[in-house]
Subunit: 334 residues, 2 copies
DNA sequence: TTGTAAGCGTTATCAC
DNA sequence: GTGATAACGCTTACAA
């Protein structure tokens, strides 16, 4: 029992205690001090549940993501956390471990816990998602995907242009035999767009596309190793350059090249995508596309707060910019 | 308005609606189905705030950590999340961005939000922490530190023995000139213990300690680079091996060696500590100490749940084991 | 099998 | 300045 106990001890009504906490200026100094003292002596903390129930406002944002131990999500959440906390909101973290049923479960939970808004990080939008999202009337922002069947603000990465630019960068340096290490296309935005960027860059430069230079792996860390091994073993002509859709792919591919004595960048150029913290320190340092994941988190948080706080004219889709970080993993040839 | 609306629409009392949700077997099938249908038609979700207020139980665990975008924390949180979710608990995430005031603020918030338990990940226990922790009567588990002034269950990593073992491993391979790349000692457990392990290993093997072989950096990613640069430039005799207290230190040190044309392991052996996902793919693959961070999260979650659910005989301190992952970054000499 | 009503800990309205 | 009281949306005796 909280405020009632304090009221009794201080010999005032609960309204006065409430005022001491929320509007101290409305209470006579003497009373205020007496009540304040008792609050501190008893280490009293107001029960926010009661307040939240009454006000129908929790200052809680549900953050749903596939995994937290993947740096692109962790970094974005860092941006989310900073932004939300500055504005007095907190995070209900839901780690769905890449299971759709878990995600659905969490959408229910978010509603029952009466979160003020939802940030949904995902690599895939399935029918089940669409269906439940249509029903939810809590402010929602999706990060990493977009679907025309639902009208929800999104934060997206410019994977298409980034990939195209990365491949053009290699082409400008004389490369024509360029391998592509990708991720599954179920992941519309990264999987599909990075592949399209690669294909269009080749096409626009009059380079014919070779299926044997393309390998679609998954998100497991070691995939790049398998991918480039496969390409090198199966190709008649070994490529002179690699474009990898993630830095994990690039770094683990480099490890295979190292094992085989294929030197980077002398024998093989490589461009990654992500710019993980560690990519600056690979040997050689990896040239890669840098996305502002932290900034994406900040923007997503701001988008959802705008909706929560009823600001009109909310921007619907934010596209996160990219930059090419030139380092030492590519070489000009011919 | 929730349950009341449903009750009216179904022409039953709110208790019946409540029963349909919580104890359907107590309701006549016919009534149950009618109510259920109306619940679904209206997409009704019970308000957990009301229930939590009444029951004084939120099934929420406050997770306080310095940063989420550091793999050792993110991995541990993955373990925490899995364990908590399996048992029906959720995470209120508090990212304190390494500021003590923020941490204090979150301890307050946790109390006001009536979390059932708290998981406190930290690299440092200051007086302010001790003070507030003494006052809190919510079940609490500390991960990464221990202080004899407070009697709180802890999950610790066996940094001392792990470091000693890593250094002994180098000594067994003929190394006597071994550099140490450390982290600040304010971080009792990692900073101090890893240094002590290093010093004791040398001492017990009759190797004299050289100050010039030791460099205490910080947690920034690039520190290893600066550290080994400093040691190599200032030492009369260049060391033949390095033990680094984190993989970040090790990997960025390797990058410096690469730039200088110092070959690993031919000219310099190196052992790290953490076994990050990527460490298997450095060139050469990094020999390092592996800690089970995921398991630490699981154990911490279980500890706090045991306290929350009032199980007696709670284990007070859990020490997380380590293993040495032998890979290709060390060489036997002489 | 179902309904009534008290109570969880607050805030807010209105009176004194 | 201060106090009584209704209300927030639920669960749970207890009564019917």
């Amino acid at each position: 029992m909280g405020i009632k106990k304090i009221a009794k001890l201080a010999d005032v009504s609960i309204s006065t205690v409430s005022r001491v906490i929320n509007a101290p200026e409305k209470v006579k100094e003497e009373t205020r001090e007496r009540v304040q003292k008792i609050i501190e002596e008893n280490n009293y903390r107001p029960n926010l549940l009661a307040k939240e129930l009454l006000k129908n406002k929790t200052n809680l944002i549900g953050v749903l993501l596939p995994r937290i131990d993947v740096s692109i999500f962790a970094t974005a959440v860092e941006g989310v956390a900073k932004t939300l906390n500055e504005k007095g909101y907190n995070i209900l973290l839901a780690n769905a471990r890449e299971k759709v049923e878990e995600e659905i479960k969490y959408f229910q939970l978010f509603q029952e816990k009466r979160v003020d808004g939802i940030l949904f990080f995902t690599t895939e939008l399935k029918d089940e998602h669409i269906e439940i999202i249509k029903k939810i009337d809590v402010p929602l922002v999706i990060i990493g995907q977009k679907n025309r069947r639902i009208d929800v603000p999104s934060v997206l990465y410019d994977y298409y242009n980034a990939s195209k630019k990365a491949v053009e960068y290699l082409i400008e340096r004389g490369h024509k035999k360029i391998a592509f290490l990708g991720v599954p296309e179920t992941n519309t935005y990264l999987g599909q767009l990075s592949k399209e960027g690669y294909l269009d860059a080749l096409e626009e430069n009059g380079i014919s596309i070779k299926k044997e230079y393309m390998y679609i792996g998954d998100f497991a860390v070691g995939t790049g190793y398998t991918a480039i091994k496969h390409i090198i073993e199966k190709s008649k002509e070994i490529p002179t350059a690699i474009y990898a859709a993630t830095d994990h792919l690039a770094i683990t591919a480099m490890h295979y090249l190292y094992e085989k004595g294929i030197r980077v960048p002398e024998d093989m150029s490589i461009v990654g995508s992500d710019d993980m913290e560690i990519s600056k320190y690979t040997n050689p340092a990896l040239t890669t596309i840098k996305y502002d994941y932290f900034g994406a988190g900040v923007q997503a948080a701001n988008l959802v707060l705008d909706k929560v706080e009823g600001k009109s004219g909310v921007l619907k889709t934010v596209v996160i910019d990219y930059t090419l970080q030139e380092r030492d993993s590519t070489k000009r040839i011919k």
